[in-house]
Amino acid sequence: MIPEIGHYALILALCVAVVQGTIPIYGAAVGNSSFMSVAKPAARGQFLLVLLAFCCLGYAFAVKDFSVLYVAATSNSQLPLHYRIAAIWGAHEGSLLLWVFILTIWMVAVSFFSGHLPEAMRARILGVMGLVSVGFLLFMLTVSNPFERLIPAAFDGRDLNPLLQDPGMVIHPPMLYMGYVGFSVAFAFALAALFGGTLDAAWARWSRPWTTVAWCFLTIGVAIGSGSAYYELGWGGWWFWAPVENASLMPWLAGTALIHSLAVTDKRGSFKAWSVLLAILAFSLSLLGTFLVRSGVLTSVHAFATDPKRGLFILVFLAVVIGGSLMLYAWRAPRVGLGGSFSIVSREGMLLANNVLLVAALGAVLLGTLYPLFLDALDLGKISVGPPYFDTVFVPLMTPAIFLMGIGPLAQWKKASLPELAVRLRWAFGVSVATALLVPILMGHWSPLVSLGLLLALWIATTIAVDLRERLTRTDGSSFMGKLAMLPRAYWGMVIAHFGLALFITGVTMVKGFEVEQDVRMNVGETATLGGYTFRFDGTEQYRGPNYIAARGSIHVSQDGRDVTVMYPEKRRYTVQNQTMTEAAISPGFLRDLYVSLGEPLEGGAWSVRLYHKPFIDWIWGGCLVMAVGGVLAISDRRYRLAWRRKEVEVPAGTQMARQTVS
């Protein structure tokens, strides 16, 4: 009964979505206020209906209702409750429901926080989001219904994939979807502006906080995905340039470019058409990612459904949404005015150069991901494009972008002088180069790539210091802390986000440059040394979990005779799917991770054990977290908080600040 209620709620939600996607947009086009005002209640109604459906599915999992096909496929009577709930998004159908649910959350947020927007704009934004929702709901109700019944009911379920029975893997999809779906708001803003025909700096200002929040979530989502893979998969890697990873990185790169481009559009009113295009691109890449992992077009460890019907539906959906918005862009964007001018060497110029580099990097990742498909489709053979390609191509593209990160914030708006900037930055450059060359030598092994990585990270940090110092001297204030507090939060957001990237780069560089590993056969009582630590194998014992049996090893770690920790790597066999999982033991630390995983049991109680010493690896995910914190800080800036409480001052319609030319 409950699943049927959920199913019915989705059908109703689809009806509401159709209304939401058509009436308000039509109303905005003809200026009919009552039609436009349908948008807010429709969005909120859709949220309640999808929430109901979501709860119904959750209920089916909670009570172990194996007459629902999806529950039988992804759950099991021995699966603990929290993982049963997480199983809601553990496979294709349920994750679509999560997608739509998060979309309705964003819709409700827009309906509440859009008081300062013109009515027509809000109507169009919610209308576009409604249309996206129509697509996903239709997809679910036709070929991917989570409420489909299994008659007769299964005796027990097939259990959730053991890889997903982990807290990180549980939170990864919701965070990621909050990001992907959040870009639909920026997308809707862009289309609303194109529909309306007026595209000005105010649009950029309104769009920025939404885009930044989505970007924060996506940053966290990607970081958790990488961190969970490191923790869960047992081989110590954290990024493989796999199609599904690239599918999450590309929207992130587009989103980063978008945040920076919106800054230019906000300040100067220029490059509006480009910002709009980026907003369309970011969301399109989110949708493309959805297609890639669910259509079977690329081999993926996340292979959800590979039913050609499903792939075709999403493809048609992509064609309609992306094709439609790009057609709208081609039609309307040429009429958009040019905005203020600025010279090539200026902060705007550098922000846009950053954009070019980010989009080139994005293009490279897209090219590499789709190239095997291109060749296969043209019958030119089968190739693989993996980490060697991406590492070779990505680093040279990102290096100049990171270098610009140091110069941009110090450059003046509108027109800057390169020689002057060089003078201001020479100390920062000198210190960065010297330290970057010295540190690897002191650590025992110099390599050009390690120095490059450190140079970039130090460059970001030192230029931040230079910028801060210059700003503090310009700020009036009594005390140092007082002056710091006077700097706007948006500035702190930028500083912290950039610093987060510096931490990230440091982590990647140090791990890749200095990590060591050892494969040993350990009898009980034997020791191995790695990275200055001594590991002693104290044998294994049998251990029974809720839905698995494990051999749990005990490894005692010491350094210079002092006890450091005891680590418990496990080899688990999940009884339902009969799948073996390696649960690595990790001893995290600020400066290093110790990573131990069990290999195979050998004779006499011995085991093959793999030991890793990974310096600075937690700086990778720590850096991502700091980046996201920077983003949050940026949105909490005064102008956004005040904007909610105060309507925009209307400028009379007859005003023309600068004559706009049609390009």
């Binding site: 001018s341 494009v385 390609y389 350990m522 400028v651």
Partner: protein
Amino acid sequence: MRWFYLVVILLIPGLAAAAYEASPLAENPQVEARLKTLAVELRCLVCQNQTLADSNAPLAEDLRREVREMIVKNMSDQEIIDFLVSRYGDFVLYRPPLKTTTTLLWVGPFLLLIGGATALVLALRRRQKKLAAVALTEAEHNRVAQLLSEGANRP
């Protein structure tokens, strides 16, 4: 005899330490290291989403054994790669070889960069020319002054 016992007693810790030191899993660490550098760039054909170094599939173990033997025979990296490619095709390589069909792949990103940079510079130059051609009229100047003074009066 006492000195004999003394020597033995002094040696025991050393012997014990030697007895308790774990031995490397591989028989020959140098061969293993070379295997690792090669295997990280090779694709496991069974799981297809892992490198040959990391996969536990039976075929992966067989292929690692083959590569190990080739390393011991002192074959060069290129010879080993050729051996695998002649049997499994370019698919087995994670670093796509540079051929006519993959030129676009390897050159593409840099073309994008140069293309993008050129487009940016041209766009900026074009906009500067257009905007320089437009000047404000007298009425527009007055309007600007009026709005600025209104703005200054706002709290």
